[in-house]
């Protein structure tokens, strides 16, 4: 096993799946010669040629629509949205068309397509290079949504997503790309979509998160451990399908639930998980469900002070968990 970064794990997954299946191809802005602005596809154009690593015109709607059409023909396209903030011009093709294609043809059409996009903030990206977009896809039946937090998960989940016969939105938190490193097996492996992972076992509080903030939760859990609070950290890994079983089991064990994400609090993933706990683990809860999330402002601003004010941090999470533990 070698220690790798998230971006390396993503690149390996794409390369392995392209070598495995000639139907897999990548299309996006600057993915070819440049190897992607984050270098997710570095070296792949040389290895697989420009017919399978396609530098698209700077036009997201057609990147998505063309990928979708190719998927109808049985290809396995991986359209890359350079930053999640740029997905909006393509949103009809993704939410309007791709998500409804199987249902709207009563299963005649499959959409084996993985829409990769770097997302999230904490990198001084301002309003248009920091957006959290997951709720829009989480809300849309017909899409699967994956948001890994570690290199191991990113690689195994991306390989499964590419082999899946449905449109999968694959969210890669851009701050984790090089910051988060971890062991990745040398041998072939995949991880199933729809399975959460308990990244830290504990008995007093369940905290559910994904992506970058998952790591902040682990830091906060360490801090609380020194204060005698035993926090269990559940990494969703996949937002859709949501692993309700793992969440509920953990909540039933600890009796206290906090959900942490960087996306806006209102109507977010946390709201759904809170409703899940209220609906299916009501008698086990001995405290209010706490959400430690991004505030309801459009995105984290550019100025450091304002970005910090927006972002959940280990300290903010620890504070929230401390209060919940004392409830």
């Amino acid at each position: 096993m070698a220690v790798k970064s998230v971006i390396e794990a993503v690149r390996e997954a794409i390369r392995e799946e392209m070598a495995r299946d000639p139907k897999v191809f990548v299309m996006g802005e600057d993915v070819g010669i440049r190897g992607g602005v984050f270098l997710a596809t570095q070296g792949l154009a040389e290895e697989f040629g420009n017919d399978r690593i396609i530098d698209a015109p700077l036009a997201e709607a057609s990147i998505m629509g063309i990928a979708l059409g190719a998927a109808f023909r049985g290809m396995r396209p991986i359209p890359e949205v350079q930053f999640s903030d740029f997905v909006w011009p393509s949103i009809n093709q993704l939410i309007g068309e791709a998500a409804r294609s199987c249902y709207g043809t009563h299963g005649a059409l499959q959409v084996p397509m993985v829409i990769r996009m770097p997302y999230g903030g904490g990198i001084r990206g301002g309003l248009f290079h920091s957006q959290n977009v997951e709720t829009h896809f989480f809300h849309t039946p017909g899409l699967k949504v994956v948001a890994p937090s570690t290199p191991y998960d990113a690689k195994g989940l991306l390989k499964s997503a590419i082999r899946d016969n449905n449109p999968v939105v694959f969210l890669e938190h851009k701050k984790t790309y090089r910051l988060v490193r971890g062991e990745v097996p040398d041998d072939e492996y995949t991880l199933p979509l729809g399975k959460a992972d308990i990244k830290r076992t504990g008995s007093t509080i369940t905290v559910v998160s994904y992506g970058l903030t998952l790591h902040y939760c682990l830091e906060a859990a360490e801090e609380l451990a020194s204060e005698g609070v035993d926090v269990e950290v559940v990494d969703l890994r996949t937002l859709t399908p949501l692993d309700t079983e793992t969440i509920l089991e953990s909540v039933k064990k600890t009796g206290k639930l906090a959900v942490v994400h960087e996306d806006n609090i209102t109507g977010g993933v946390g709201a759904e998980i809170a409703a899940l706990a209220a609906g299916q683990a009501f008698e086990y809860l001995d405290g209010p469900v706490v959400r430690i999330c991004g505030p309801d402002v459009p995105t984290m601003p550019f100025a450091q002070t304002l970005e910090d004010a927006y972002m959940p941090s280990p300290d903010k999470i620890a504070d929230g968990l401390r209060k919940l533990a004392a409830y």
Partner: protein, 346 residues
């Protein structure tokens, strides 16, 4: 293929009859009889579904009346070629039915019954996919099908196939950004796509003059570097000929834009009333060039069919429509237990 051509000089004379002995390459009298028969059948169905709408049995319909020559002429060329895939739009009733549906299947789709071949009652009539007849139309979002069609052509090329993709849209869709994006990408990659604009000069009520500042939409093709042809969309043979040439060009050299000038005989849909926005007498004048009438006249004048045979075709179509209506009316709607099926593919 020339970069730009306009063939709007009417192939038919003032009475609607085609000049004699002008059947283009590859077309036989039997093809005209076959397509006339299909035309009469789809017109019969088209008229019936409007009546069924007024009876409360068909919730919504968009008529193809006036567009049939464009739709069937291009379909004839696609069928003759044998390796084409179609991405129609919502007004392509004639195309979709003539491509291989039975009248009963068509009626089941319009009534939202189980057995609707496009979506099993989930979508508007004849919307979804009819893969046995090589047709996909996912949505009503105009121009969304254009980029998908281009992607389909890309997928075919990757699979080593020679398929030519025909994608259809109205003049309203010419204003969408995705129309530009699709044409641009198709041209960059020289993909075998034929963009067919059925231009009836109305996007619901909005006239062409509020949609574009140019006379002919086909002019836009030159900015992408591929041929743009404007053709008389009321003449089935002209549409066949233009599409046949376009297929040959597309397969060897890349995209073609065909603008087919058609007339919309009916309101936008069964929910619209075009008397609010169309000048009086416009539709009546347009109907003088009704392909149902002009093609019959050609067949009789050319002594391909007798009036008696033409009448018999019409009678058979009406009977088939009657029977199909009864079958669809008596058939079951989809069971509500299927609501959750196929949100995801296995």
């Amino acid at each position: 293929m020339p970069r730009k051509r306009t063939t709007t000089t009417q192939a038919a004379d003032a009475n609607g009859a085609r000049a004699k002995s002008r059947l283009p390459k590859g077309l036989k009298n039997a093809d005209l009889v076959d397509y006339y028969t299909r035309l009469i059948q789809v017109r019969s169905i088209d008229e019936r579904i409007w009546a069924l709408n007024r009876q409360g049995k068909v919730p919504i319909a968009a008529s193809a009346q006036g567009h049939e020559a464009a739709q069937l002429g291009s379909l004839l060329a696609a069928e003759k070629d044998g390796d084409c895939f179609l991405f129609p739009y919502y007004r392509d009733l004639a195309l979709k039915v003539a491509a291989g549906l039975t009248p009963a299947q068509t009626m089941m789709s319009f009534m939202g019954k189980a057995g609707d071949p496009y979506s099993n009652g989930r979508q508007f009539p004849l919307q979804g996919a009819d893969l046995p007849n090589k047709i996909i139309q996912i949505s009503n979002v105009v121009a969304a099908g254009l980029t998908q069609a281009v992607g389909y052509a890309l997928g075919c090329r990757m699979a080593g196939e020679k398929t030519v993709v025909l994608v259809y849209f109205g003049d309203g869709a010419t204003s969408q950004g995705e129309t530009h994006e699709a044409m641009n990408f198709a041209s960059i990659h020289k993909l075998p796509v034929i963009f067919i604009c059925e231009n009836n000069r109305y996007a619901i009520s909005t006239p062409k003059t509020s949609q574009m500042a140019i006379e002919e939409f086909s002019d836009r093709a030159s900015s992408y570097g591929f041929p743009g042809i404007t053709v008389d969309g009321m003449d089935l043979v002209s549409c066949y000929e233009a599409t046949r040439e376009a297929i040959t060009h597309a397969r060897s050299q890349g995209p073609v834009l065909l603008e087919m000038l058609v007339e919309r005989f009916m309101s936008h849909t069964t929910d619209d009333d075009d008397r609010r926005y169309r000048p009086e007498g416009e539709v009546e004048r347009a109907r003088e060039r009704d392909p149902v009438v002009t093609l019959a006249r050609t067949l009789i004048d050319e002594k391909i069919l007798t009036q008696k045979q033409v009448d018999a075709i019409a009678a058979a179509a009406l009977k088939a429509t009657d029977e199909a209506t009864d079958i669809a009316d008596a058939s079951s709607p989809p069971d509500e237990s299927g609501l959750h099926d196929m949100v995801y593919s296995p």
